[in-house]
């Protein structure tokens, strides 16, 4: 390592340029709160159906229960992923991925990079796949998944999803031990930008949110999603499924969801996601007979 400092924004830029050269569409984050880049329609919906697809985009993620008021150097309720989805999965995708690491300044020959089995499953999306977590000298920096099912539907062709954990990579590249100390550019640190948001959101997530209101919102969002599915509008329906999911996460952060209730609510979100996926596939068939 050593040499020039790679800023957080440079990592996003370099990964974007790299995947652009690989023929990916470069898209921007989707404007609804979500727990992972997979939930964006650019992945969730596009991994379905026969059409080829190649996309790359950075995506902010929210996981309210993971917040620590900015006290923990490794955990935050809001962070960034860089998401790549390629359909069908290309032959030498592992090698291409290793090249992308070189692009941001990690030479595989100098490290121990390993693909360790990790099968991914999203109970709320009715999606699962098999793949690995990629270890860089023992640190998980990327999730690699061959999608097998999404929204309960078989994926054919199979997509490969690559999700980079941007903060982890940046901490490694900048040789820094706390997310908040990362340099975003020459002038601003990650903490300068995001720490006030983190603290305020933790305050909301853990103390100020109103569970009764959230429960009502959940019910409203769920009903809206159902109505939209009935009206054959899969795209806005997905937005409301995502809102359900985020509202559920907010309730979870308040600790008001019991283990059993949890399973039941996740089941409700999953069945909505499934209907959205089915409706989407139907709409695409009508578009291109």
């Amino acid at each position: 390592m050593g040499g020039k400092l790679v800023h957080f924004q440079d990592i996003i830029l370099k990964l974007s340029q790299f995947w652009k050269k690989q023929g990916c569409l470069l898209l921007q984050p989707y404007d609804t709160e979500k727990g992972a880049g997979t939930m964006s329609p650019h992945t969730f919906l596009r991994s379905l159906g026969p059409e080829p697809w190649a996309v790359a985009y950075p995506e902010p993620c929210r996981r309210p229960a993971d917040g620590r008021y900015g006290d923990n150097p490794n955990r935050a309720q809001h962070y960034f992923q860089f998401q790549v989805l390629l359909k069908p999965s290309p032959d030498s995708i592992q090698e291409t991925y290793l090249l992308s690491l070189e692009e941001i300044g990690i030479n595989p020959k100098e490290h121990d990079i390993r693909f360790v089995e990790d099968n991914w499953e999203s109970p709320t999306l009715g999606a699962w796949g098999v793949g690995w977590e990629v270890w860089l000298d023992g640190m998980e920096v990327t999730q690699f998944t061959y999608f097998q099912q999404c929204g309960g539907l078989d994926c054919n062709p199979v997509s490969i999803e690559i999700t980079y954990g941007l903060e982890r990579l940046a901490m490694y590249l900048q040789n820094i031990e706390s997310i908040w100390d990362l340099s975003w550019n020459t002038k601003y640190s990650y903490g300068d930008i995001w720490l006030p948001f983190e603290k305020a959101n933790c305050e909301y997530n853990f103390s100020r949110s109103n569970p009764e209101v959230l429960e009502k919102l959940f019910t409203l969002y769920e009903q809206e999603a159902k109505d939209l599915i009935l009206n054959k509008l899969s795209v806005p329906a997905l937005d409301f499924v995502l809102k359900c999911s985020h509202t559920f996460n907010l309730l979870d952060a308040r600790g008001v969801i019991s283990v059993a209730e949890r399973t039941a609510v996740i089941g409700r979100i999953r069945s909505l996601a499934k209907e959205v996926a089915e409706q989407w596939v139907l709409e695409r068939k009508l578009d291109s007979p």
């Binding site: 020959k109 023992g138 097998q148 059993a260």
Partner: protein
């Protein structure tokens, strides 16, 4: 002689698949060769994370021609007056033969027409071209996947194949793979060293691979890791905490193992050893290092007397990069440990009693209330056991307290983060709060045994708490109507019931599981509103469930299946079975010993005759005395008097519960063989099914009493 090499190149295989696929592939090939009568010298299989390899040596050049004799129609139908009939002509034509090739041969069913045909021996290359794809498709594992547009399913995508027969490429194709794989002689080395690696001679394969940074031979790779670890431990006077499954996993995570010794700050030794070890072993696949002379203390709160602030990391990196790799791994463990310290400190700030109160906020399962209610039911069960076993006051107090606090760690930060530490953290936290050592240890032992072959609780309180924990689960889930079926057992109820039986077998007390199930079934249905069952039905379902578990464990313990059926099969009254499960195992072992000693057969023959005839009698199965049902006045022969004497001699043995009664019973049953043979077939034998109804009934009753007495040991009718 021919030699064969197959290498299936893949993206990184899951570690357990890479391990389990090796014997599987070998089996497939051996079975196939046996079927085709193909001889060979040796088949060796191996795997690395990125390849599965198969070498076969000493194959023939080609397969020998095979002569096959086919049986045709009977000679008399095939030839009339030595002229071929349509039957013979049709038979010959079907195999492309002429009439004069048909031969007449005698069989034990008369003369038949036979035809010898010669099957040309196939070439080996034709066989491999055809069979290699079938072998690959025949491999099985968990969670197979598809990739790209292909229809082929495998553990991970297959990217290349090397297939050589006598150093010539066999272009085997893998249908359904995308992109379509055609075998060549080009392999891949370690990613960091060389991508494309031609294999021109099979004999050079292993060496070429080694030069390219790949230890193809799994066994030698495992040995290499083991040696690296041993050497460093010897030099540093430490002890590697590397269970077999970790060594196996490490072997299947690297192609070219290099050992890196890493350190961590000794300030983290203020955390419990189980926490540090779990983070290192389970989450990071590191090998923790222990102080050689350390003694394991499950209640220890810190690791300073147990662990060394260092660990071993088996990497796949190049030896020249060790410093960077060490630094990276040390940084990762630091972040992981500081997370763990945060959880540990926040747990320590709260007392176990406060945590216990929080259990009321957590739902156990729908319709079964909160964890507090589960704990209350565990306490209730503990009280029943105290009465059943007549525990002392001190034992009772300890059991109730440990039951009340058994789940306090389920709401701790540490267990939320590391669920595998449940019980372990609970015990430590209780001990830290000043609870008795026995109570704390019982909380630790409540989840034992993890499987039928793993460690059982060591203390009585721990054993009893472990029984209540499992029984509560069984009663509650059965009350909900969720009885395990087939492969579906999401609550691991089979494991729970197995655990109960194994623990009952291991403690010194006699344990009336039947009574406990009976009173608990009633209690459960009185407190749980969710179920519409009646308690008798719940009780019967549990009895049958435990019966199948006892049969399963008997089999696991190496008891012959028919003996297991004879002591615990469906002909055995479940009340008797569960009143004293330990007794069942004792009798099964006794019968197995008798069989090994060659003594069982004669007893079994004559007693199955007794049992068969006794089924005609109408007397109750729990009658052991001749007093009311046998009339000596109806006896005609001496043999009848002898059987009566025998019964009267057995009676005190079966009705009194004294030590060694089964040995006495066995002894007397062995001696009964002669008496019974005389009764059935001897000079003074009688006809049991006499025409005189009174006499017949008397004789049947005589046998029925004897059957009832023998049932105390086993149902001889089940023995084979």
């Amino acid at each position: 002689m021919s030699n064969f090499l197959l290498e299936i190149g893949t993206e990184e295989l899951p570690a357990d698949f890479a391990r389990l696929v090796v014997p599987q592939l070998k089996d497939l090939v051996e079975t196939d060769f046996r079927k085709k009568s193909i001889r060979y010298k040796e088949i060796s299989c191996s795997s690395t994370p990125r390849r599965i390899s198969l070498c076969i040596s000493g194959l023939p050049i080609k397969l020998e021609d095979q002569v096959q004799e086919i049986k045709g129609p009977p000679y008399e139908q095939a030839f009339k007056n030595e002229l071929a009939t349509p039957a013979a002509i049709g038979f010959a034509r079907r195999y492309g033969a002429s009439i004069d090739q048909l031969q007449k041969k005698q069989t034990n069913k008369g003369a038949f027409v036979f035809l010898s045909i010669t099957k040309k021996g196939q070439s080996l290359s034709a066989i491999f071209l055809n069979d290699v794809p079938k072998w690959i498709e025949g491999l099985q594992g968990k969670r197979f996947m598809k990739w790209a547009r292909g229809s082929l399913r495998f553990s991970r995508p297959i990217r290349w194949m090397v297939c050589l027969l006598n150093d010539e490429v066999l272009p085997v194709q893998l249908p359904g793979s995308d992109s379509l794989i055609t075998a060549s002689n080009i392999s891949k080395g370690n990613r960091l060293i060389i991508d494309s690696l031609p294999i021109n001679k099979i004999e050079h394969y292993v060496d070429l691979m080694k030069q390219s940074g790949v230890y193809v031979n799994r066994d030698s790779r495992k040995q290499l890791i083991n040696n690296l670890v041993k050497k460093i431990c010897k030099n540093s006077n430490t002890f590697a905490d590397m269970p077999d499954n970790l060594l196996d996993e490490l072997t299947d995570l690297v192609e070219a193992p290099t050992l890196v010794k890493c350190n961590f700050s000794d300030s983290y030794l203020s955390l419990p050893p189980e926490v540090l070890s779990t983070v290192m072993r389970v989450h990071q696949r590191y090998i923790p290092l222990k102080i050689s002379s350390s003694e394991f203390d499950p209640l220890a709160l810190n690791s300073s007397k147990i662990l060394v602030p260092a660990f071993l990391c088996i990497t796949n990196g190049l030896p020249g990069s060790i410093n960077i790799i060490r630094k990276g791994n040390e940084k990762v463990i630091k972040a992981r440990f500081s997370d763990a310290r945060y959880f540990f400190d926040s747990d320590k700030a709260i007392s176990c009693s406060t945590r216990n109160e929080k259990l009321s906020k957590v739902i156990f399962s729908e319709g079964l209330g909160t964890l507090t209610e589960r704990v209350e039911r565990i306490v209730w069960l503990s009280k029943q056991i105290i009465e059943l076993l007549h525990l002392t006051e001190s034992q009772s107090r300890k059991l109730i307290t440990s039951a009340s606090y058994s789940k306090n760690d389920l709401v701790s930060s540490m267990v939320s983060e590391f669920p595998e530490l449940q019980g372990i953290m609970g015990a430590k936290y209780l001990y830290q709060d000043g609870f008795d050592k026995d109570i704390s240890l019982a909380v630790l032992e409540q989840y034992m045994p993890k499987s039928t072959s793993s460690k059982l609780p060591s203390s009585l309180i721990g054993s009893l708490l472990a029984i209540t924990d499992k029984l509560e689960l069984l009663l509650s889930i059965f009350s909900k109507g969720l009885i395990p079926t087939g492969s579906s057992d999401p609550y691991a109820l089979r494991r729970a019931a197995n655990g109960i039986i194994l623990i009952i077998n291991s403690i010194n007390h006699s344990f009336d599981l039947n009574k406990l199930l009976l009173i608990s079934s009633k209690y459960w249905l009185s407190i749980l509103p969710i179920t519409k069952k009646d308690s008798q039905k719940l009780f019967n379902e549990l009895q049958e469930f435990f019966r199948t578990r006892i049969l399963f464990i008997l089999e696991e313990k190496g008891i012959d299946n028919d003996i297991a059926q004879a002591v615990a099969g469906s002909s055995i009254n479940p009340n008797r079975l569960l009143e004293n499960p330990k007794d069942v195992f004792y009798r099964a072992r006794l019968l197995n010993q008798l069989r090994t000693a060659g003594k069982l057969k004669t007893v079994q023959l004559v007693f199955s005759r007794v049992v068969n005839l006794a089924s005609e009698s109408t007397i109750s199965k729990d009658l052991y005395s001749s007093n009311l049902v046998i009339k000596e006045s109806l006896f005609e022969k001496e043999s009848e008097f002898n059987v009566l004497k025998l019964i009267d001699k057995i009676e005190p043995i079966v009705i009194n519960n004294y030590a060694n009664r089964y040995e006495s019973l066995v002894e007397i049953l062995l001696s009964a063989v002669e008496i019974l043979n005389e009764f059935f077939d001897g000079d003074t034998s009688v006809m049991v099914m006499s025409k005189d109804i009174k006499i017949r009934k008397n004789r049947l009753n005589l046998l029925a009493i004897l059957r009832n007495q023998s049932l105390i040991l086993a149902d001889f009718n089940c023995l084979k």
